[in-house]
């Protein structure tokens, strides 16, 4: 008995220092029967559970799309709400399989942080929210202002860069969560609140009187947001990357939640390949051949996900802008399935 206890303690100690690197995320997810998805639990439009615990949002639907691709069931996702500060550690340590939490793709995150970004699902930029009463028209007029910001974000760095390069003085007040940052801004602790423009629209609605606040037109940075996975598992990287491309291609080809069944009988070879009616493209990922059809049936194509959560079908009413398809003047472009 004593000996087995000792062995157990030993194993635990060694385990804490790090289990062997896993290269088989897909297999683990399949065995577990559920996808662990690192999500934002606090941002309407991207990721937010309602009072019943049902998660909704743009990034949340990406988690569901991956679950639908693997299990043919978009509910087999366990959402793990993460703060901006803790998100990378959670992915590094294997607590989540994939991080889809409006996270900006940067070079250092792609290298030293041990992540691989699989693509861009939302092209964003950093903006400022201010009180209308301040009568400020541009971010360049914010010299000497106090700015509330969330910790562990690219916004924190861009903010310092922007003020420095424009020779303006800055007082930042940094909070661990966006909740606290917005609350402090709303209480008058800061003149401005800064984060990605997409989030500003949703955070504005959380202030006591949203009509008293305005988002400044300036965008001071590039914020390409996308899903990321751990280094060292190419198969899993490919799956997460191509789920995004599949959804974008589906929109381009006009495959929607409503017409996906009919489209499998289409003559268009692009559509047939995407839905698994032709070729073995799905199997090459280690998924079923028709995973594209399953995914779109459950969550819809890229455009549908966007409109439902961020666009005209939502409270936020964000226009597609940079996130329109390349054929419509935007940046969303996916490599072909073949």
């Amino acid at each position: 008995m004593k000996r087995s206890l000792f062995t157990l303690a030993l194993a635990t100690l060694v385990g804490i220092a790090g289990s062997a690197a896993e290269a088989q995320t897909l297999k683990q997810v399949q065995q577990r029967g559920v996808l662990n998805c690192g999500a934002n639990g606090n941002l309407a439009g991207f990721g937010l559970p309602d009072a019943q615990g049902n998660w909704t949002g743009f990034d949340v639907d990406y988690c569901r799309a991956i679950a639908a691709a693997i299990f043919n069931d978009p509910t087999k996702v366990k959402f793990i709400p993460l703060t901006a500060k803790d998100r990378f550690t959670a992915l590094q340590s294997g607590e989540v399989d994939v991080l889809i939490r409006n996270t900006t793709w940067t070079s250092s995150r792609d290298t030293t942080n041990g992540l691989n970004f699989t693509g861009v699902n939302y092209y964003d930029g950093q903006g400022f929210l201010v009180r209308k009463a301040l009568k400020v028209n541009s971010a360049l007029e914010l010299n000497d202002a106090a700015v509330c910001v969330q910790q562990g974000t690219t916004t924190e760095l861009n903010l310092a860069d922007f003020f420095r390069s424009n020779n303006m003085k800055l007082k930042t007040v940094t909070f661990a969560t966006s909740d606290e940052a917005v609350k402090a801004y709303d209480a008058g602790r800061c003149d401005a609140y800064t984060t990605d423009a997409s989030a500003l629209y949703s955070e504005r609605l959380r202030t006591a009187a949203p009509d008293d606040h305005v988002v400044l037109p300036d965008i001071i940075s590039k914020e390409p947001l996308g899903p990321s996975v751990r280094h060292g598992d190419d198969q899993w990287f490919d799956i997460v990357r191509w789920v995004n491309f599949w959804l974008i291609n589906a929109e381009e080809l006009g495959i929607t939640k409503a017409n996906v069944d009919a489209q499998t009988k289409s003559d268009n070879p692009d559509i047939r390949r995407l839905l698994g009616a032709e070729g073995k493209f799905g199997e090459a990922f280690g998924l079923s051949n028709d995973f594209g059809a399953k995914m779109i049936k459950h969550v819809g194509n890229y455009g549908e996900i966007f409109e439902r959560n961020l666009g005209q079908g939502s409270r936020l009413k964000i226009s597609r802008g940079l996130n329109a398809l390349w054929t419509k003047g935007g940046l969303q472009y996916a490599p072909p399935v073949r």
């Binding site: 804490i16 500060k85 003149d191 280094h231």
Partner: protein
């Protein structure tokens, strides 16, 4: 007749050898465990191609910190950010310990007051404060402070050139001119003089029984000498008064509301526990001691100061040390209300930006361990001084 040699015991059964062997074995196992944990972690980090090592220390941080006691800007290094955070932690912990001790002793003694109202109020304070979670209290104080204070434009002017609003308390900043060096020198001389006077007064009391006004003389020496020096050098101090800017107040010394809320919350909370330790300490002194003092003609205050407190301190100091350690560690809750302490700056932003969780967390743990060991070391020294001298 020669004594027969004691029978030789095989080292295997010799308790002395056995215990040494087992201790060596245990040490070896611990060293091996630590070694394998470190190498295993390093290997896994390398395999996941996550940066490791301490190269990040000298890289540019790129983020701003709202309160820094040493010069810091976004171009400073991560190492500099670490020191900024550490100093902020030490500042709030040190001041918190001072205030918590003062409030705690006052409340602890008031709990034993003969005045029922005062005693019950003090008791109520202890029961309410120590039974609410600290995080909740910090959030309450922070939001209460922010909500209650006016916005920038309606700043409250406090006589003496101070301004108070929801951005903080702004004090005039003294600027020292030439000749000011005399003042700190006078201050040090004043302290030395006060100690010297106390030494002399004690010796005289021991020899002749005559008492001297040590407190009054000490205070007038410590405060009076610097004031005298100021007057003699012609007041070489000017003040930079805070002024209203377009958005913020320029100039002066700024006390952030985050700092005020954290300091207040920590002091109030820890004081409730210290008050209990003080009450227990005072009650542990037998009532006969007080009666004996009264019968010798001592009045209540000298009785408390000379008879009860010195004996009570022996009981109070060990739990007091605990509370000091708790306060220091609890200061890491600063992260919730935006005060840039070590955890917020270093384990928050720096960890997130560098992605080097193992190194950053290890450094932070080492720092808290060092602070805590230093605090308890000092308190143990003090404890030894006041401990009952046994002959």
């Amino acid at each position: 007749m020669a004594q027969a040699a004691p029978p030789r015991i095989s080292p295997f059964y010799d308790p002395r050898w056995r215990s040494i062997a087992f201790q060596l074995l245990l040490c070896a196992v611990i060293v091996w465990l630590a070694y394998s944990a470190v190498t295993n972690a390093a290997e896994n980090l390398a395999r996941a191609r996550i940066a490791s090592g301490f190269d990040f220390w000298n890289s540019t941080a790129g983020f701003d910190i709202s309160q820094h006691l040493i010069p810091y800007s976004a171009q400073s290094t991560y190492g500099r950010a670490f020191w900024v955070g550490l100093l902020n932690t030490l500042l709030v912990s040190f001041l918190g310990i001072v205030f918590a001790t003062i409030i705690g002793f006052a409340i602890g003694i008031l709990q034993l007051s003969k005045n029922v109202l005062v005693a019950k109020l003090a008791r109520g304070y202890v029961e309410v404060i120590r039974n609410l979670p600290l995080l909740l209290q910090l959030l309450f104080w922070y939001n209460a402070v922010l909500k209650a204070l006016p916005v920038l434009r309606d700043s409250i002017s406090i006589p003496g050139g101070m301004l108070l609003n929801n951005r903080g308390l702004f004090l005039p900043k003294p600027i020292f001119g030439p000749g000011f060096e005399a003042v700190p020198i006078a201050f040090v001389l004043g302290i030395a003089g006060a100690f010297g006077y106390r030494h002399w007064a004690r010796r005289r009391q021991a020899l002749t029984g005559q008492q001297a006004p040590v407190f009054a003389v000490g205070v007038s020496l410590i405060l009076g000498l610097p004031l005298l020096a100021l007057a003699l050098t012609g007041f070489p101090v000017t003040f930079d008064f805070p002024e209203m800017g377009r958005f913020n107040i320029r100039g002066g010394i700024e006390i952030l509301p985050e700092f005020a809320a954290l300091l207040f919350g920590l002091s109030i909370y820890t004081a409730a526990f210290i008050a209990e330790a003080v009450r227990a300490g005072v009650q542990s002194v037998s009532h006969g001691q007080t009666e004996a003092a009264y019968s010798l003609g001592l009045r209540p205050l000298p009785t408390l100061r000379l008879i009860v407190v010195p004996q009570a301190m022996r009981v109070i100091v060990p739990p007091l040390t605990n509370q000091y350690l708790n306060l220091t560690k609890n200061s890491s809750l600063a992260v919730a209300i935006g005060y840039p302490d070590l955890v917020q700056v270093f384990t928050g932003t720096v960890l997130n930006q560098t992605g080097q969780a193992v190194e950053v967390v290890a450094i932070t743990m080492a720092v808290y361990l060092t602070i805590s060991l230093a605090t308890s070391g000092l308190m143990n020294l003090y404890n030894r001084r006041i401990a009952l001298v046994e002959r």
